[in-house]
Structures are given as structure tokens and as C-alpha cells.
């Protein structure tokens, strides 16, 4: 069920198991049959830790989503609320509990599980509403880092970037530090910490302090990770703005992957039967889980989309050849062997069918004229062409009222690639946006300015070309089929964040001191002492393991680039990736936009 978590260099099943154990312990505290009332946001992340079967084993009989009014009837002894510590949710819970009493149903016990932390404010609110006493157990479940895949952890904290950079609220950094402490408790103290950016500095400081204050003393686990690299998202604002061009990246850009699941338009997944019964096309979106447990997906997810087609067709040939085998099976033994392979072949075939359909869906979009035009402009910006004047394509998109987020992505990309826009250019874009999409977006524009995504060029000097050249962020001769550099993930642009990780491993950051100074925030190195017994003696040819933590989010394309580095033959370093949230340009910009009421049409 979770085999994919142990496939990587670091066995993340242990982390998941720790999470499950904590959950089981809590459930067992509430003896008897139970119903869980879910804060809907939590169901996705929880699903990655425990399936319904685990809950069922611990007498969870019903599940509801948290809604105002009366709880649905359920013949259970315990009602447990799984919620984020938010005041508005407390009001709903109070309403649930109060209306429950009036019904005079058989006695039910109430419990509450706060994720990721109990909050005094929330408990006070429950007290004010007069229901605090109704809860027997009030506990917290610190789901800090959730294993998404064999090499990927996420906190799924949607607003971490916004909180850190707009609201100056660093709670998510505290959770990141705590998550790292949990990780170290399971996988040993990480001897080396590198970081770049203000948030990175904060997290490192918190970790060091927590370690000092930890009463348990020395951790006696042999360290699995050699290095931790903490990176602020605002060190590299560019990468999330560009359109990701890996298979997984494009699925996320177009359909949005949530907690490893994607919902796709059903038309292409209609079961193909003889007789052509085109009447009952499925109307529900097709929901698929995407992770490395699926062999084919693991192989193609990180490829440039242009290299996916050939893999799929090769696979198709192999599978049909395998099915052809049945004609050659003559003896009973041969037939038996063929039959024993059938389930595996069937699975491979349906996996292939799914991904062929997805690839077709994506191809429809990537071959469209507008996708091409948009990409061309992005690539011009990233390679430093015409970043200092108003762009025609962007203007056209505004005139045709393309989605605002698309416009903002382009304008921000241009601003980042030009170290800020000239006053005239910035004013022009602003006016066009406000006139076309509404003046109230002045609030959103202000947020983008505060986050540094959109800014006025202050000095006459544009640093981006220097950064681009020194760190080789733009590669003209990119090989999409058989890549030899990380730049394949954006068909030319090598993500700055991943380049930083790559250069840290070899030859070290000292070689790029000048450029590091141009990027925001401090860069630093810390060492955590290990007892002599735990110090690693590296075997010949053994790779180092680096945990890269993206504070403020990471894209699938960046992950693909790090995986590419892990797989390089002479790379010498394998990467595990952690982040506050898996993001793409669209949902990232959206998180920074002012919430406005939806327009009437």
C-alpha cells in the first residue's frame, strides 16, 4: 500500500508509520465505536497517512464532513472532531455540540483532535460558547511533514508563503523546524546545515535551539542524511512563474494535482466497447492517484513532455508483444506461466491506457497556438530578451481578457527577469490590468509588490543577466529526449533553486559568492556535532544524501530536476525533497491574490 515510500534511498515508511502510530494511540484512547467529523481540508493530507481501513480497525464506523447545524445521526459512542485550529471552525463545532444536547440522544462522548496544534484561542472560544467541558479528550496531532513519495515530503501548508512574506507570520517556519526535529529523531541528527534566505536562517536557528532545549539529550541513531539545505522561496521567485514542461509538471499546471490525486475530464477515459455505445459517456471527472507506486508513472513523470510519447509507444509494443505470447504457449506449463503473469500485464495495460489518455489531453493544449506563444514569451524573458519594455503578447492577452492569473504570471516573470520594471512599463501594465479586470485588483498588485514578485527597478543595474550567466540558468542547446543538464525541465531554463543545490554539492558555494550576495537574505553553514560513534565512514563510491527543504513551496519541475541530479552517474549526491507546499505558478499567485467576491458573470 505504501511500498513506494520505501523505494528511495531513505525509507520514509518509518515516518508514515510514526504518524499512524500516533493516530492509533489517540483513537484507542476513545474507547468504543466512533464517528469522525472532518474538517474537509484535512481529508486529503490524512489520506496519505492512513486509509479508511486503519480507522475501521479502530472502530471508526462513520465519517462526516464538518457542517453547521445538527450532526447526522450515528449510533456510536464517540464523536471525534478532526480540525485545524481555526476560530470559525470552533463555532461550527459548538453549534454541532449544542444542538446535539437538545435532541437528547443516548449519551455520546465528544473529543477533539487539533491538527497540527492545539490552540488556546480556540479552546477559549469553545469555552465562551459553553461547550469546552463537553470534550473528554482534547489533543493535538502534529502532522508536520507528510510523506508524498519515496523522496518527497510536504507540509501542505497552503498559505506558508503568504504568511511569511506578506503577513510576517512565521508560524509555518516553526512547524517546519518541528517537522525537521521529528525527522532527526527518526533518521538521526543531520551533521551539516546549509541555507540561503531569511526564513532559512530562522528555521536553522530554531532547530539549533530546539536541540539545545531537548531534554532527551543525544540522539543515538546513525544519521541517514549527510546534509540539510534550507532554501527560501524568495531566493528563486522565477522558477514557479515559468510553465513547467515535465510530464508531471504539465499535469499539475493544467489540471492541478492535490495530495497526489488528479481529476481529469472523463471523455478520454470512456471504456471503449464494441457496438460504439456513445450514449452514456461518464460525466464524473476521472480521479487518478499519481505516485511512484505506478511503475510506468515513475518512469515518465520527470521526463520532458516531448520525450513521453516515445516511451509510451515503446511500452505499448512491449505489452502487446507480451499478450501475443499466449499464441505461443503450447504446453500446460507454458499456459500456466502466462496466466500467472496476467494480473501484472493487465495492470500495466490499464496504466498505459490511462497515461496515453492523459498525454493526449496535454498534447491538445501544448500544441495550441496560445500555449506556444506564451512559452515563447516566457523563454524570451528568461533568456534576457526584451525584458525592459512592454510586451506585445502580454498586452494582447489583456485585451482579450485572458485569465488574470496568466497575465500576472507573465508580468511578474518579466519583472523578476529584469530585476524590477521601469516606472513607465510598470505603470502601463498596472493601468491596463486595473482597467480591464477591475480597480479592486490594486490590492492584489500591492500584495505582489510586497512579495517582491512585481517591483520597480530601483538601481539602474539589472542583476539578472549576471546571475543567469554565472549560474548558467539558460542553456541554448537543451536535449529533451536524453538530457544532460537540469535545464531540460523547462526546455532551456535551469531552475535557480536547483542550481544552488547542485553548486553546493560541487564545487561548493564559495565559487559563487558574488552571485549569492545578489540574491536576497543571508547564506550560512552550521554544523551539528555528532558523537564519535555515529560519525560516518563513507564507503568508496557511496553517495551522500542531502535533504533540500523549500520554505514557501516547490514545483514538480524543480523536484524533477533534483531527481535528475540524484540519478546522474557521477553525481555523488542523492536528494530527498521537503517543502511547505507543492505549488505551481497558478496556485501560488492565487494564494497571494486578494480574495474578491466572484463577479456576477
Amino acid at each position: 500500500m505504501a511500498a513506494h515510500l520505501s523505494s528511495g534511498r531513505v525509507n520514509l515508511t518509518a515516518l508514515r508509520e510514526a504518524g499512524r502510530r500516533e493516530l492509533r494511540e489517540f483513537l484507542d484512547k476513545c474507547a468504543g465505536s466512533k464517528a469522525i467529523v472532518w474538517d474537509e481540508y484535512l481529508t486529503g493530507p490524512f489520506g496519505l497517512i492512513a486509509q479508511y481501513s486503519l480507522l475501521k480497525e479502530h472502530e471508526v464506523e462513520k465519517m462526516f464532513t464538518l457542517k453547521a447545524g445538527r450532526l447526522p445521526p450515528a449510533d456510536v459512542k464517540n464523536i471525534i472532531f478532526f480540525v485545524r485550529p481555526r476560530l470559525e471552525l470552533m463555532d461550527i463545532i459548538a453549534e454541532n455540540v449544542l444542538s446535539e444536547d437538545r435532541v437528547r440522544s443516548p449519551l455520546r462522548d465528544f473529543h477533539i483532535l487539533f491538527v497540527p496544534r492545539r490552540s488556546l484561542l480556540c479552546e477559549q472560544r469553545l469555552k465562551d460558547q459553553g461547550v469546552l467541558g463537553s470534550f473528554i479528550h482534547r489533543e493535538q496531532y502534529s502532522m508536520d511533514l507528510i510523506p508524498f513519495d519515496g523522496d518527497l515530503l510536504s507540509m501542505e501548508s497552503e498559505s506558508a508563503f503568504k504568511e511569511c512574506y506578506l503577513e510576517n507570520d512565521q508560524t509555518s517556519l516553526y512547524h517546519a523546524a518541528k517537522g525537521l526535529m521529528t525527522l532527526q529523531a527518526l533518521y538521526g541528527t543531520i551533521p551539516q546545515i546549509f541555507g540561503k534566505g531569511d526564513c532559512a536562517r530562522h528555521v536553522a536557528n530554531m532547530m539549533i535551539r530546539m536541540k539545545r532545549e531537548f531534554p532527551g539529550g543525544q540522539n543515538s541513531i546513525f544519521p541517514v542524511f549527510d546534509t540539510l539545505l534550507l532554501l527560501d522561496r524568495n531566493v528563486d521567485l522565477l522558477s514557479p512563474l515559468a510553465t513547467q514542461l515535465t510530464y508531471e509538471g504539465l499535469i499539475d499546471e493544467i489540471y492541478g494535482i492535490q495530495n497526489t490525486y488528479v481529476k481529469l475530464p472523463p471523455e478520454k477515459f470512456a471504456p471503449k466497447k464494441q457496438g460504439e455505445g456513445g450514449k452514456d459517456l461518464p460525466t464524473e471527472p476521472k480521479k487518478l492517484q499519481l505516485n511512484s507506486a505506478e511503475e510506468l508513472y515513475a518512469e515518465i513523470r520527470d521526463k520532458n513532455f516531448n520525450a513521453v510519447g516515445s516511451v509510451l509507444s515503446k511500452k505499448a509494443k512491449i505489452i502487446s508483444a507480451a499478450f501475443e505470447e499466449r499464441h505461443h504457449a503450447k504446453t500446460v506449463g507454458e499456459i500456466k506461466q502466462f496466466v500467472s503473469q496476467l494480473p501484472h500485464m493487465q495492470a500495466a495495460r490499464s496504466s498505459l491506457a490511462n497515461h496515453t489518455s492523459i498525454a493526449e489531453l496535454i498534447k491538445d493544449i501544448t500544441t495550441s497556438e496560445d500555449f506556444f506563444d506564451n512559452l515563447t514569451v516566457e523563454q524570451e524573458f528568461m533568456s534576457g530578451i526584451d525584458t525592459d519594455k512592454v510586451n506585445n503578447y502580454t498586452e494582447d492577452c489583456i485585451a482579450q481578457k485572458h485569465p488574470l492569473i496568466k497575465i500576472l504570471r507573465l508580468v511578474c516573470l518579466q519583472s523578476v527577469c529584469n530585476s524590477g520594471l521601469k516606472q513607465k512599463v510598470l505603470d502601463h501594465y498596472k493601468r491596463e490590468i486595473l482597467q480591464t479586470y477591475g480597480y479592486e485588483h490594486i490590492l492584489t498588485l500591492n500584495n505582489l509588490e510586497k512579495a517582491g514578485l512585481l517591483k520597480l527597478q530601483t538601481s539602474s543595474r539589472n542583476n539578472y543577466p549576471t546571475i543567469r550567466k554565472t549560474m548558467r540558468l539558460w542553456m541554448d542547446d537543451v536535449n529533451e529526449q536524453n538530457p544532460n543538464d537540469i535545464s531540460y525541465v523547462y526546455s532551456g531554463y535551469a531552475p535557480l533553486s536547483v542550481r544552488l543545490a547542485q553548486l553546493l554539492a560541487r564545487p561548493g558555494w564559495r565559487s559563487i559568492e558574488e552571485v549569492l550576495k545578489m540574491l536576497p537574505g543571508p547564506h550560512f553553514e552550521e554544523r551539528q556535532q555528532l558523537p564519535t560513534g555515529l560519525q560516518k565512514k563513507r564507503q568508496q563510491g557511496e553517495n551522500r544524501v542531502t535533504l533540500v527543504f523549500f520554505l514557501g513551496g516547490v514545483t514538480y519541475a524543480e523536484i524533477a530536476a533534483l531527481r535528475f541530479l540524484s540519478q546522474m552517474e557521477d553525481g555523488g549526491t542523492e536528494y530527498v525533497i521537503a517543502t511547505t507546499k507543492l505549488i505551481n505558478g497558478t496556485n501560488w499567485i492565487k494564494s497571494l491574490m486578494e480574495k474578491l467576491e466572484p463577479p456576477p458573470f
Partner: protein, 425 residues
């Protein structure tokens, strides 16, 4: 508490202080001892209000001495002023909390008005802090209001402070002025925008307009001020247009509204959408009316490009090809007409095509596309045979003409045309 008592108390504090001299080195331990004594005394006498006020201790006295009897406004203004009181550095607040005099918000404000110093830090809850502010506003003392605002600014979360100020306009103006004077641009902008944001929660258009009118007076930067002003003007216009058009539509006498009933109200729509609406329903109106497109263009300084695009889309949707033609026709001083499009004719073709313009109309504009290759592509895409043929003729491309001959219908006028050209080339 009346003023008598206040003075009395001050007497007690000051006189006790002078009568008692601490040995410098031992001050701390003695104070601790005295605190223990006072506390145990309290246990016996029960929690009596008076006792607390008159309780003997070096603590509040020490603080007064440190500060002097009067704290000037400039002291109060500096953010660090209140924080640097020595006793606070020495031990946790909890230790002397018991002794501080218990002024109500009202008394505190009175005292501040008279120039007496009061520690505001005792007011911990939001409710108390707001009471302080409301008290200060009620007595109209700008100095006190500002001093309290500085205290609130330091001790409240920014969002909460801004939110509370929305219903306290007087205090709001004071804070805006203060931030402007002290040059805290970022905070000022945040405050102004958080004010402006409020309009989103106002549903009633008339009230929203009123609110935006208030926002115009806020000291935004010159660029932002233009946008806010435009926002107000736009809504003002929309209200007028909406009332007028709703009436027209209901009366049922205007043909355009009968033929194309409005899908939604124009209120709160973006400027470009409003322009489209006005080009759709009010195209022919004289410049003087609020709803005429030209008037909107002038008022909001809409660029030519944007205007032409919007007008084109609106007129094409109505299939008013004559208007479309007029949009691109310019007359020079000799009276010759010329076709000109600030957006490029290829864009014009695209928009017309999207509004399913007939081939006759379409080809007229395809012909005007300057770049030969683009023109050929568009002409072929939209089956404007004449344009394709003429272009090849001008290029004297026999080969392509012959190839194209296979694509047109047998025996059609186009085929004849190609044949006649081919025989002449």
C-alpha cells in the same frame, strides 16, 4: 475614583518615597521582602480596593521617579520610550503588577490630558485598549489620541488595529497623519489599502460610491490616487447608466434593449467591460452624455488601441459592419479616405471572424493585412479566395496559382478568375 483620591494617592507615593532611602546594593532584596510583607498583609485584610491603592511599596514610586512627573509627548511618541523603564528590565512584570494603580481607561485619559504620566501597558485586553481610544476620541484631545494610537500600533496586530479603525474614522485620520509625518510609507500604504478594501464588503452601490468618495481624500501616492479616483468616477457613472438603462429597458421602447436584453447590471464591472457595454447599447450617443463611448474614452484616458478593440468587438457582435468600417476609415485633409488600424488588421480579422462575419466583410480586411505571408495564411484559413488569388497575381506566382486552382470549386467564378490571370501572366 474622584480627583481627591487621585491627589491623595500621589501624596502618599511621593512622601513615602522621600522618607525611605534604600541601600543601593540591597534594594532588590529589600523590595522583595517588602513585597512579601504586603502580600501577606493582603491575605489578612482581604482584597480591599483602597488597600491596594495605598499599599506601601517602593515600586510605583521608583517608576515615577525614573520618569519624572511629566512625560512629554515626544517621549510618548518614540516607540521605545515606554519600554526602557528600568524596573521592567529588572524583573518580570508579574512581580510589581500588584502595586500599580488601577486607573480606569477614563481616568487614564483624563490624567494624560492634564499632562500626567500613565502607564498604558496595564491595558492588555483589546476591549480595554479600544475603550482607551474611544475615551480619547470623546475628549477631542489630539495629543492623547495620538499617544494612545502609538500604544495600540505597538501592541496590536496590524490587521486588527486597521479593522478597528474602520469604525473609528477620527482616530483613523490621526493615525494616517501621524504615519505620513513620520514617513512610515509602507505601513501607511497598508493602512490606506485596508481602508480601501472595505468597499468590497459594501453591497449597496450608492453606499459603496459614498465610501469610495471618502477614499479619494486618503493620501495615496500619486499613481494609486489616480486609480482610486477612477474607481470612484467609474462607479458614479455606472450608477447613472444603470438607472437610466433599467428604465429604458422596462419601458420597452428602445429597440436595442428589446432585441438584446441585458444579461446583468453594469454596476461594479471593470472599465473595459463598461466601455464594451456602452459601445453595444449607446454607440451613437453624443459625446456629452455620460454613457457615450467617446465620453468614457476621454474621461478615463483609454488608449486608442484598447478603445478600437473594444468598439470593434461590440459592433461586430451586433453585426454592424458599417460601424466597423467607419472605425478604421480616416480622412486626410484632402478628403481622401484611408484605412488604418492601430491594432493591426490581422487582429481585426481575428475578432471579426470570432463574431462570424461573412466572407465579404472578412476579405475586405484580410486584404489590408500588410505582411504578405500573414495575409495569405489568413486568406486561406478563412477561404477568402479572391484575396489569395490577387496576392499570387501580384507576386506573379504561376506555380502557386495553379496549385490553388485545384482548391476552388469547379466552374466557379474563382476558377475563371484564375484561368484569366494565368493566361495573362
Amino acid at each position: 475614583m474622584n480627583r481627591m483620591k487621585v491627589d491623595e494617592e500621589e501624596y502618599w507615593h511621593s512622601s513615602k518615597c522621600k522618607a525611605f532611602t534604600f541601600d543601593d546594593d540591597d534594594e532588590l532584596s529589600q523590595l522583595k521582602e517588602s513585597k512579601r510583607a504586603v502580600n501577606s498583609l493582603r491575605d489578612i485584610v482581604d482584597d480591599d480596593d483602597d488597600l491596594e491603592k495605598f499599599s506601601w511599596s517602593g515600586e510605583p514610586v521608583g517608576r515615577r521617579n525614573k520618569l519624572g512627573s511629566f512625560q512629554s509627548l515626544s517621549d510618548a511618541l518614540s516607540d521605545t520610550g515606554v519600554k526602557s523603564y528600568a524596573p521592567e528590565l529588572r524583573r518580570p512584570k508579574a512581580e510589581y503588577k500588584d502595586y500599580t494603580s488601577d486607573w480606569s481607561p477614563k481616568d487614564t485619559v483624563r490624567r494624560m490630558q492634564r499632562g500626567k504620566i500613565c502607564s498604558l501597558e496595564r491595558f492588555r485586553s483589546l476591549r480595554e485598549k479600544l475603550m482607551l481610544l474611544d475615551e480619547a476620541v470623546a475628549v477631542h484631545d489630539g495629543n492623547v489620541i495620538t499617544a494612545i494610537l502609538i500604544f495600540l500600533k505597538r501592541t496590536l496586530k496590524r490587521e486588527i488595529l486597521f479593522q478597528e479603525l474602520e469604525v473609528r474614522q477620527v482616530a483613523l485620520r490621526h493615525l494616517i497623519h501621524f504615519l505620513k509625518e513620520t514617513g512610515e510609507q509602507k505601513l501607511l500604504l497598508d493602512l490606506l489599502l485596508s481602508q480601501y478594501r472595505e468597499h468590497l464588503s459594501i453591497q449597496d452601490a450608492e453606499k459603496r460610491r459614498e465610501f469610495l468618495k471618502g477614499c479619494i481624500r486618503l493620501p495615496f501616492s500619486s499613481e494609486d490616487a489616480v486609480h482610486v479616483q477612477d474607481h470612484y468616477t467609474l462607479l458614479e457613472r455606472q450608477i447613472i447608466i444603470e438607472a437610466n438603462d433599467r428604465h429604458l429597458e422596462a419601458a420597452g421602447q428602445s429597440e436595442i434593449f428589446r432585441k438584446y436584453p441585458r444579461k446583468a447590471s453594469i454596476l461594479n464591472m471593470p472599465l473595459v467591460t463598461t466601455l464594451f457595454y456602452s459601445c453595444f447599447y449607446h454607440y451613437t450617443e453624443a459625446e456629452g452624455t455620460f454613457s457615450s463611448p467617446i465620453n468614457l474614452k476621454k474621461t478615463f484616458k483609454i488608449p486608442d488601441k484598447q478603445y478600437v478593440l473594444t468598439a470593434l468587438a461590440a459592433r461586430a457582435k451586433l453585426r454592424a459592419w458599417h460601424d466597423v468600417d467607419a472605425l478604421f476609415t480616416t480622412k486626410n485633409w484632402l478628403g481622401y479616405t484611408k484605412k488604418r488600424a492601430p491594432i493591426g488588421f490581422h487582429r481585426v480579422v481575428e475578432i471579426l471572424q470570432r463574431n462570424s462575419a461573412p466572407v465579404q466583410v472578412l476579405q475586405e480586411y484580410v486584404r489590408l493585412v500588410e505582411d504578405v505571408e500573414t495575409r495569405l495564411n489568413l486568406a486561406m484559413k478563412y477561404k477568402c479566395h479572391d484575396v489569395v488569388i490577387d496576392t499570387y497575381r501580384d507576386l506573379k506566382d504561376r506555380h502557386q496559382l495553379m496549385a490553388y486552382r485545384c482548391k476552388v470549386e469547379r466552374g466557379s467564378a474563382e476558377e475563371d478568375k484564375i484561368d484569366s490571370i494565368l493566361s495573362n501572366l
